[in-house]
């Protein structure tokens, strides 16, 4: 698609008139998906899709038209011409935009690691064969993703990756399951073999009779997966400069200095350590890191170019939604293998699910345990625990209630495929919490 991108960018550059500027954002994928259920294939297929978002700028007026790109040149260029015509027709009807911020520093880049495309059918075979006899449900997602940016100043940025993401469960019964994931740039069947063997061992523990706990406060170990779910709900406007400035961010009490997290909490938007492109749709390059919490205090926010202009601060290269793409919570000092002994008595929570705010102003979060949560006694896993609802503040989970973070921070590429395969990721450790409130 790189050649297609360059052709479109050149075509637009040659089509704009005096007094016009443009930005072009190309986003696409060529992916294979295979949906699995009961250890068999439910729905396999392939998706080739690409879209080009063309923004036309005349002075301080601008608008965007996004068109589908097929790779068939004459049709694609005709769609681009149609988009240009449409934009030229609408711009005279628009007022000047006081929040328009254009990247005027040309900074081109080329980061193409598309390489060999992982073979999805090999992955399907590997999962079904290694999971033979088990109730396996999940998805294989594999292929290439690409992003491109161009503007009238001659900036060109290109990003391409070939990768895969296997995401599956081994279900014991009803809602008791071992959740597994495996993501990389090239496929190695041995990794599936090892992960499946580990999952089979965990499945044996799940077969023990489960316990239903009463609502109340429990000491808890949150695995990195569970911690990432807590961090994930903060994405809903939490780190957004606009959300913080308008008071709608759930983190505003931390932003205002009215509250702070445990001083071991260091949270950054770690572009350098993630897998997302280091440029965004307006052509701004992202800094390698943006510090958000440091020593438990909120010190930074994610600012889109638009918010940057509105509030008179530098942009952090965030997208228009001001979401983190490569969030990273610093590791702590709880040694690997000592998690259960440090927990001693309480809940080992493998996964959390469906988090939301029950009191946004207080940053109080509710959600469910899912797949595998265990009752731990004397530092040993006793039995699975039936799903429970928690309702707790972030200040308790990562503040006054935080006893420690694991020394190992786990890198978790996003398995999300809404609209297209995600390039987001989270890196975080597990967390030991002295008390966590469960309500239902």
């Amino acid at each position: 698609m790189r050649a297609c991108f360059d052709t479109i960018a050149d075509h637009i550059q040659g089509s704009i008139r005096g007094g016009e500027g443009f930005t072009l954002w190309l986003s696409g994928e060529d992916s294979d998906f295979a949906r699995l259920n009961q250890g068999r294939v439910r729905q396999p297929g392939s998706v080739s899709q690409c879209s080009a978002s063309l923004r036309l700028i005349q002075g301080r007026r601008h608008a965007t038209v996004q068109v589908a790109i097929s790779g068939e040149q004459s049709g694609d260029l005709a769609r681009i011409d149609h988009a240009l015509d449409r934009l030229r027709a609408v711009l005279p009807h628009l007022p000047d935009d006081p929040h328009l911020l254009i990247n005027e520093t040309v900074s081109s880049s080329d980061d193409d690691r598309s390489g060999a495309r992982p073979d999805a059918r090999q992955m399907v075979d590997a999962l079904l064969e290694e999971g033979d006899g088990l109730d396996l449900v999940g998805i294989v997602a594999s292929g290439s993703v690409f992003r491109g940016f161009a503007n009238h100043l001659g900036q060109r940025n290109w990003f391409a990756r070939s990768s895969f993401n296997l995401d599956w469960c081994l279900v014991h019964d009803a809602d008791k399951a071992v959740k597994c994931s495996l993501a990389d740039f090239s496929f190695d069947r041995a990794a599936v073999t090892a992960r499946m063997a580990d999952a089979r061992r965990q499945l044996e523990v799940l077969r023990r009779p489960s316990r239903t706990i009463e609502p109340g406060r429990y000491r808890a170990w949150l695995t990195p997966s569970a911690v990432s779910e807590v961090l994930g709900v903060l994405n809903w406007g939490g780190f957004s400069l606009k959300g913080l400035k308008t008071g709608h961010s759930p983190l505003r009490r931390f932003w205002n200095g009215d509250d702070q997290l445990d001083d071991r909490v260091d949270l950054i938007e770690d572009v350098a350590g993630g897998i997302a492109p280091d440029f965004q749709a307006d052509g701004f390059r992202r800094p390698a890191q943006v510090q958000i919490f440091e020593g438990g205090r909120m010190v930074g926010a994610l600012a889109s170019p638009r918010s940057a202009r509105e509030y008179g601060v530098p942009t952090t290269g965030a997208g228009s939604n001001e979401l983190p793409e490569s969030l990273s919570l610093a590791a702590g000092d709880i040694a690997t293998g000592t998690e259960l002994s440090r927990l001693e008595n309480g809940l080992y929570i493998g996964n959390l699910w469906y988090t939301n705010f029950s009191d946004r102003a207080a940053c109080r979060i509710t959600g469910m345990t899912r797949f595998a949560t265990f009752w731990v006694q004397g530092g040993e896993i006793v039995c699975p625990v039936d799903v429970m609802r928690f309702d707790e503040t972030l200040g308790q989970l990562l503040g006054s209630g935080l006893e420690g973070l694991s020394e190992a921070a786990e890198f978790q590429p996003s398995n999300m495929t809404y609209f297209e395969r995600s390039t987001q990721s989270v890196r975080c450790p597990g967390a030991l919490v002295s008390e966590m409130r469960f309500t239902l």
Partner: protein
């Protein structure tokens, strides 16, 4: 363009297809427009012009799909080859044999009734409406943020099968929205129309039909009043929900649990399973005798109406729950075949780039006989809640906790003052049995939202929910921290 693509598809069909093979083409052309006014500043308009096709092949006992934006004959031939290759490669490990399922081969057309197409409305008139909706804020400095917006989508689809099916559909969607955020003395409160909750099908007439022009002043007054309102009380009490919150309550604790693909286990790795099991259909008491729930994609103004689903099944109105008893599930032709459970025409996909799965479309609670005042008069102690702001439910769609933007105390049969941060929690399997009052048509609203997430690969889809106000007894209600 669709006619040309259909011709290319037929020319691209393989000559060696067996009689029991099945190939379909689903063409989707979609134009969506987003126009927003934030704090009096027009956000740059965005238009999406999407077009593409999905080919699905059932062959040799397997199935496969391929999605492409390349609608040339060679592009469609390549897509057929890709889908065919998947079908053949996975036939021996397929979950079911698609040859055993009689796929529909419908013909016909369906169009949203439209009085004034959105496209015919000049940009100046659209912008003027956004200013009009936001004018309620005035120059009150307590409004730290506010936004009015229009989201319009025109979808044209063509579904063609190798066995003679050919359906054309044209759907017009419009979602007007208001969000106001007020702040004073460290307190922030939001009032809004919900998750684009006033979304309906139709043209510009939707604006007046949903009554959004008169809504701004009320939302403004409520946002200001909530700034100094007390917190919602805690305890077990009566709960009266407006249609805006009923939309969420229906969606999460009736809609998703009744999806047959969840019951069949397809969603267990992502969206979850269901507390509903196959043997419950036909006898399970889902709710009190006041509960009547229909799947109704035939209501023309509702947001997720259509003539046929994305696998060609004709849309009809079906009672899922009658007098509180579960009768049918939300399952497509394929899911009905797999489960043996009666279902509906709800194989739906986000667009050409995702395969159809079981979705909700329009899922409604039928109106009862009580006026709003009669519902209130039943309550000795309770809370009335409006407009969803928080939602969370377990993966079996059973233990839930929901929150609203606005609460109002009900005491001794009368509405009293506002309370903020109202929340409640319950269990789907028992919650609907506590339904003690259902509002009549005067309380009934046709609402919807573009944001229902599900599936692997993930899909977001439009749903409609129409409901009267409903009253529940002995619900666990609580407030903020």
């Amino acid at each position: 363009m669709q006619a040309e693509s259909v011709g290319r598809f037929h020319r691209a069909l393989p000559a060696d297809l067996a009689n029991d093979s099945f190939v379909s083409l689903r063409l989707v052309e979609e134009r969506s427009e987003q126009l927003s006014l934030r704090k009096g500043v027009l956000e740059p308009p965005e238009v999406q012009l999407d077009v593409g096709a999905m080919v699905t092949v059932h062959e040799d006992g397997g199935l496969g799909y391929a999605a492409t934006a390349d609608l040339t004959e060679s592009g469609l031939r390549h897509a057929i080859d890709r889908a065919r290759s998947w079908a053949r490669a996975t036939a021996k490990v397929a979950l079911f044999d698609p040859r055993t399922i009689a796929m529909p081969n419908p013909t016909g057309e369906y169009r949203t009734p439209v009085q004034r197409p959105f496209d015919d409305v000049p940009m100046a008139e659209r912008i003027a409406l956004l200013h009009e909706l936001g004018a309620c804020v005035g120059d009150d400095p307590r409004f730290v943020d506010w936004e009015t917006s229009l989201y319009a989508v025109l979808t044209r689809t063509r579904y063609v099968t190798s066995h003679g099916g050919d359906v054309m559909q044209e759907l017009h969607h419009l979602a007007p929205d208001i969000t106001l955020v007020a702040s004073a003395d460290g307190v922030v409160q939001k009032r809004s129309t919900g998750q684009r909750g006033m979304a309906q099908q139709g043209g510009w007439e939707v604006i007046d039909r949903v009554g959004i022009r008169s809504l701004g002043p009320r939302l403004r007054e409520e946002a200001i009043a909530l700034l100094t309102a007390p917190d919602c009380p805690a305890g077990d009490m009566h709960l009266l929900l407006d249609p805006g919150q009923m939309m969420l309550q229906i969606h999460e604790s009736i809609g998703h649990p009744l999806e047959l693909d969840r019951i069949l286990g397809d969603e267990r790795n992502y969206a979850g399973r269901s507390f509903v099991t196959p043997e419950m259909f036909g006898s399970y008491r889902y709710g009190s005798e006041l509960l009547d729930v229909t799947f109704d994609p035939t209501r023309p103004e509702e947001f997720a109406s259509y003539g046929w689903d994305d696998e060609g099944a004709a849309a009809t109105r079906v009672h899922l729950i009658r007098n509180g008893v579960l009768e049918a599930g939300l399952g497509s032709v394929v899911s009905q075949h797999r489960s043996g459970i009666p279902g509906v025409a709800n194989a739906r996909s986000t667009s050409w780039n995702r395969p159809p799965i079981d979705r909700m479309a329009n899922l409604n609670v039928e109106p009862g006989t009580s006026t709003f005042d009669e519902l209130v008069s039943q309550v000795e102690r309770g809370v009335y809640m409006e407009t969803n702001t928080s939602w969370s439910i377990d993966d079996s769609r059973n233990k839930f906790q929901f929150g609203c933007e606005l609460g109002r105390i009900i005491e001794d049969g009368e509405l009293k003052g506002l309370v903020r941060t109202p929340n409640y929690r319950g269990i789907s399997a028992t919650f609907w049995r506590s339904l003690v009052g259902v509002g009549d048509r005067s309380t009934f609203q046709v609402l919807g939202t573009p944001y229902c997430g599900k599936g692997e690969p993930n899909q977001i889809i439009r749903v409609g929910h129409a409901s009267p106000a409903c009253l529940f007894a002995d619900v666990s209600v609580f407030g903020g921290a």
